[in-house]
């Protein structure tokens, strides 16, 4: 019951802040609202017993993506007026409506079968076991680390002044 109330509060604030992100002219305020939207999404993950996803949402989306966004705002000039509207308004609207139609129709027509297994509480440690134990996914984890390394080095190589 309390979880339901929490879910509806978080969901309502998430939707309102997501609308605010696209309607506000001030880019910085839009970024702050995006952070609020990410945070409420993390809260919704918590109401679904997905504590790992919630922690990732806070760590990656708020910690990295939102910070990068604010960095990008700092790096630009003359953004007080926000994004000026341009000629792509009509195509963007068409694409948005089509995407919304696809998402709504697939959400309505999909059966949403419920899993017979009960969700485990706080299963982050199990994820750790799967990722790092000897008969788990150690090699993919290390490859993911290599990908991170390649991304960091690539970004530095591409952007460094000669």
């Amino acid at each position: 019951m309390a979880v339901d109330i929490a879910f509806w509060i978080l969901a309502a604030i998430a939707v309102v802040s997501a609308v605010a992100v696209v309607t506000l002219r001030d880019v910085f305020r839009a970024a702050i609202f995006l952070i609020l939207c990410f945070f409420t999404t993390a809260g919704i993950f918590v109401t679904l017993n997905a504590d790992f996803l919630a922690a990732m949402q806070v760590l990656v989306y708020i910690g990295a993506v939102a910070i990068l966004l604010i960095f990008a705002i700092l790096f630009t000039r003359d953004v007080q007026q926000g994004n000026p509207s341009n000629k792509l308004k009509v195509p963007a609207a068409i694409v948005g409506v089509v995407l919304l139609g696809v998402m709504v129709s697939s959400a309505v027509t999909f059966g949403w079968p419920e899993s017979v297994y009960l969700p485990e509480l706080a299963d982050t440690a199990d994820i750790g076991q799967r990722l790092f134990s000897e008969n788990g996914y150690v090699v993919p984890v290390q490859i993911a680390g290599l990908m991170l390394l390649a991304a960091a080095i690539g970004a530095i190589v591409l952007m460094r002044e000669k």
Partner: protein
Amino acid sequence: MLNSFGLLGMFLIIAILVTAAFVLIPIALRLVGLGARRNPNTDKYTIYECGMVSVGKTHIQFNFRYYFFAVLFVAFDVLAIFLFPWALWMGNAGVFELGAAVLLVVIVLIGYLYAWKKGVMQWK
């Protein structure tokens, strides 16, 4: 559904409280402003207590060098994704798991060392 008031309950409380802070603080500040008497003069608009009077626009383009710090930060942030479940499970982990995590950190640290070597963290 949330039958144990453990870690998840704590997370939920934090989520609700931070969301409430985000939403309520601007409203509270606006309400405080409503009752205030406005009697401005030049001294009131000077910079509070200390600091220089700013010259020109305050919204300037920041130096692009901060980008490298952002990139390195993101790399280590994604590394934290992998270390978080590992750390929660660490209690019953053995030498192999410790070695796997150390190897992962070392791999990502190579990028940091590369950035250090190339001097992207120096302010030239």
